[in-house]
């Protein structure tokens, strides 16, 4: 599964660890680095590409150079708002998380950020099979030919071939033996049923 990378830049250690723990629980999100100072962050960003930066408001003020140097960074920045009084210039950040946010609010905000990464992702073809495809994988594992499968399911051989092409595309597995092992480890068939 593709991971969307977050780096954190939060002074307060407890807060930083807490944010990291929350993010790691969200499928697809991954915290790659945690920083407590802007210096370390600046150095890291010189050599690395990240999907999102989550920075607390106190450190954001010290990091203005970073955002001047890379104007696109703001588009990928999530502000963690610790001080509720200070104005934040809403709208310029990708997202703002408040200390008072509940579990649902935070999860929702992060998931919204992740969505575009998992929609129409070319490199990551959908790997879940449809029920029909599962049936076909099952029959292939039992040693049936395309013709036999077609007869059994009252479909044309041509349709079965199309299904099998789609299966290959989804799973990246071509051989019968490969599909059989796939079927076993995904509980589509038991070893006893395999021929």
């Amino acid at each position: 599964m593709k991971r969307v990378n977050f780096i954190l830049c939060i002074e307060a250690y407890l807060l930083c660890k807490g944010v990291a723990a929350v993010l790691q629980r969200i499928p697809g999100a991954s915290v790659v680095r945690e920083f407590g100072t802007v210096d370390m962050l600046t150095h890291y960003l010189k050599n690395h590409a990240v999907d999102f930066l989550l920075i607390c408001d106190t450190l954001f003020e010290k990091a203005t150079d970073l955002f001047i140097e890379d104007p696109g960074l703001l588009e990928r920045t999530i502000l963690l708002k610790i001080n509720p009084v200070r104005p934040e210039g809403a709208g310029k950040f990708k997202e703002i998380i408040y200390l008072t946010d509940g579990k649902q609010e935070i999860t929702f905000k992060i998931k919204e950020l992740l969505n575009p990464y998992f929609r129409n992702h070319r490199e990551e073809p959908q790997s879940t099979l449809t029920e029909r495809e599962k049936t076909i994988v099952r029959l292939v594992s039992m040693g049936l030919t395309n013709k036999q499968i077609a007869d059994k399911l009252f479909l044309s051989t041509h349709t079965i071939i199309t299904h099998r092409k789609n299966i290959i595309h989804k799973l990246g597995i071509k051989s019968v033996s490969g599909l059989t092992v796939y079927a076993i480890v995904n509980n589509i068939i038991t070893i006893d049923e395999v021929t």
Binding site: N5, G172, S175, S177, G178
Partner: protein, 244 residues
């Protein structure tokens, strides 16, 4: 991250994942006090190239540091060829040998045995097919590309082909070779009856997971270093031909 002035010994001790890379550069152990740059020079390896490959291999978020035009594409192709050679001649036969040894001494049924050995046999064939396609088509294409790039006036036939097929198309066709191996590990751990020789079974599983890791890192390196570098030259050539 490794740097050019750091002792090679330290680089390897800190990053064990570098070990399988060394033979691909024809670099042997026994570094003494020599730093990365010295070891590279003694082994006729371009230092920038070694560092790009190693760092891309070690760090999933790595983006190329140096101007990619610093090293010749021939280096890259040489590296890929020896990597493929390593998979086909060393890594896969080693696992295959151990799997057969494991099956021979096991109480598995004929069917279960056939399942595992048949699986690995087909896997090897698919792998070979994939690698030979790269060796026969992609790598010669890269070398030809560089040759055309050096010419005053690139070959018209070549330019015509370039307009329909570029390295990005190759990258898209890239198969995922590691998923099948993970399925095999899962089969052994979860579904097959236990093997008597646990130590050998452990070795098989470790070798499988090492190879999976290596394949992922390798694909990552191709995406981060090879494809961008080749795409850059393609763009140069295309622009040049438009201007001319």
């Amino acid at each position: 991250m490794i740097s050019r002035n750091m002792p090679m010994c330290q680089a390897v001790l800190e990053h064990y994942r570098l070990l399988p890379l060394l033979p691909r550069f024809n670099i042997r152990l026994g570094f003494g006090e020599k730093c990365v740059e010295e070891v590279c020079r003694l082994n006729h390896v371009t230092t920038e190239f070694f560092m790009e490959i190693s760092n891309a291999y070690l760090d999933d978020d790595y983006i190329p540091q140096t101007d990619l035009s610093l090293f010749p594409l021939g280096d890259l192709v040489g590296y890929l060829t020896s990597t493929h050679h390593y998979y086909l001649e060393v890594a896969i036969p080693k696992i295959e040998r151990k799997i057969h040894q494991l099956l021979d001494g096991s109480a598995l049924s004929e069917k279960e045995r056939g399942l595992v050995s048949g699986f690995f046999d087909d896997y090897r064939k698919e792998f070979l097919e994939h690698v030979s396609r790269e060796d026969k088509l992609v790598l010669p294409y890269i070398l030809e590309l560089e040759k055309e790039y050096m010419k005053e006036k690139p070959d018209a036939e070549f330019m015509k082909r370039l307009q329909v097929y570029t390295i990005r198309d190759f990258a898209r066709e890239h198969d995922r070779l590691e998923t099948s191996l993970e399925n095999l590990s899962r089969l052994i751990i979860k579904y097959l009856p236990p093997f008597e020789d646990f130590d050998l079974c452990h070795q098989v599983l470790t070798d499988l997971s090492d190879l999976v890791r290596d394949l992922i890192d390798h694909a990552h390196m191709e995406d981060k270093v090879l494809v961008p570098r080749v795409a850059e030259i393609e763009q140069h050539l295309l622009r040049k031909s438009e201007a001319g």
